[in-house]
């Protein structure tokens, strides 16, 4: 039979910076030795939340780099250490929108920056855009791999 994961549990597991819900943690601790399963609908909901925030992220990051006083040309002139500091400043400046989803903006951005900081700081602005173009598929693949490998989830349908 196995145990079906709900959206909150999946997001808690995949995004370490997300404030964990007590119920989800309790569920996972209780059933982590069972066969874990995920329904298409839950998987799709998690994917769409991740994609939604990724879409905000790519626009916010580019706006931050290109519109404030440290514009894109300056980004290209900064060394990796300074770019890394700028990314931290970017995170500090992000405001959580009033209405929250199951996945909050700031924790998601933190997860994303933690996963890709090393790549971002090495790229000039044009190459960074090229990197961001493929980031949605990276995030979706990361998400699927975590579920597949860490939780041994059997996937819904793949062609």
């Amino acid at each position: 039979m196995g145990k079906f994961l709900d959206t909150n549990v999946v997001l808690d597991i995949i995004y370490p910076e997300r404030p964990r819900s007590k119920d989800a943690t309790a569920f996972y601790m209780k059933f982590k030795n069972y066969e874990l399963k995920i329904e298409n609908q839950v998987y799709k909901e998690c994917q769409s939340l991740a994609i939604k925030y990724l879409n905000y992220f790519t626009a916010d990051l580019q706006n931050f780099i290109s519109t404030n006083d440290r514009h894109s040309k300056k980004w290209d002139m900064l060394d990796q250490k300074k770019r890394s500091k700028l990314l931290t400043l970017f995170l500090d400046n992000i405001k959580e929108p009033g209405k929250n989803d199951k996945l909050d903006r700031i924790p998601f951005y933190k997860s994303l920056i933690n996963l890709s900081r090393h790549e971002i700081i090495y790229l000039n602005f044009k190459d960074l855009k090229d990197y961001l173009i493929g980031l949605a598929s990276e995030v979706m693949r990361y998400f699927r791999n975590r579920l597949k490998l860490d939780l041994n989830i059997n996937f819904p349908i793949a062609l």
Binding site: Y43, Q47, N55, G134, S137, E138
Partner: protein, 234 residues
């Protein structure tokens, strides 16, 4: 919004170009109809092209997804086309007289071509996005959408190519609807009518259904990243 456009309506399920290519002398009566329909509705040079695109965009807003589509939904769309121009009814009548193998071969070649055009168009879209100073809503996801949609269409057509006549009969409406409903997102993006929530919903449906495409970064980015991995993280 990026300017990348499709000069041909590749998502309409009737294989007009393929029909025209395969028609022989004995089809003298049909050939002008097929060619006129192609020129009027499929090529971006007039009101009828825009009108058909608008009909296709309406498909995007229907509650149809890759898991729940039925043959009836496909037939309904065909009826809409016939209401738009009765010549489509004549063409559908002609198609119904083709042998299953002939029809399958036309659909296969139509959608292989559609996937190829979409892939080529994705490459220009990528160039446009790189040139754009700041991205708007949808810009961060649309390239992935183009790639995943062309991959889904290609995979379905490969499956059709390898299928029996009976399996093919079931697959053809599926390919037609997938291309129509998910292709409408591409048309809406080009026309600047795409709502971010629709793109997000449709992209996550495709990503749930399909393998996630591996989007290659440029050689330059690849080199930078390869070099960067040799340096310790700060």
């Amino acid at each position: 919004m990026v300017s990348t456009s499709l000069s041909e309506n590749i998502f309409n399920p009737i294989p007009l170009k393929e029909l025209s290519n395969k028609m022989k002398k004995r089809h003298d009566k049909w050939l002008p109809i097929v060619n006129d329909l192609f020129d009027e509705f499929m090529i971006s040079n007039g009101d009828k092209f825009t009108f058909l695109n608008d009909i296709i965009i309406k498909e995007m807003e229907k509650e149809l997804d890759i898991y729940t589509m039925t043959t009836e939904d496909y037939t309904n769309f065909q009826k809409e086309l016939e209401d738009l121009d009765e010549r489509f009814a004549h063409v559908n009548e002609f198609i119904s007289k083709l042998s299953p193998d002939e029809y399958k071969s036309m659909i296969t070649s139509k959608y292989f071509r559609a996937a190829k055009i979409l892939k080529k168009s994705a490459a220009s879209l990528r160039e446009d996005l790189l040139q754009k100073e700041v991205w708007n809503e949808n810009d961060g996801l649309i390239y992935t959408y183009y790639v995943i949609l062309s991959q889904v269409i290609s995979n379905l057509v490969t499956k059709l190519e390898e299928s029996s006549a009976e399996e093919g009969n079931k697959l053809i409406p599926t390919i037609g609807l997938v291309s129509l409903v998910y292709g409408s997102v591409v048309i809406a993006y080009i026309q600047d009518k795409l709502k971010p929530e629709v793109l997000i919903e449709r992209l996550s449906e495709l990503a749930t259904f399909s393998n996630i495409p591996n989007i290659k970064t440029s050689t330059k980015v690849k080199k930078v990243l390869k070099r960067s991995r040799k340096v310790p993280v700060i």
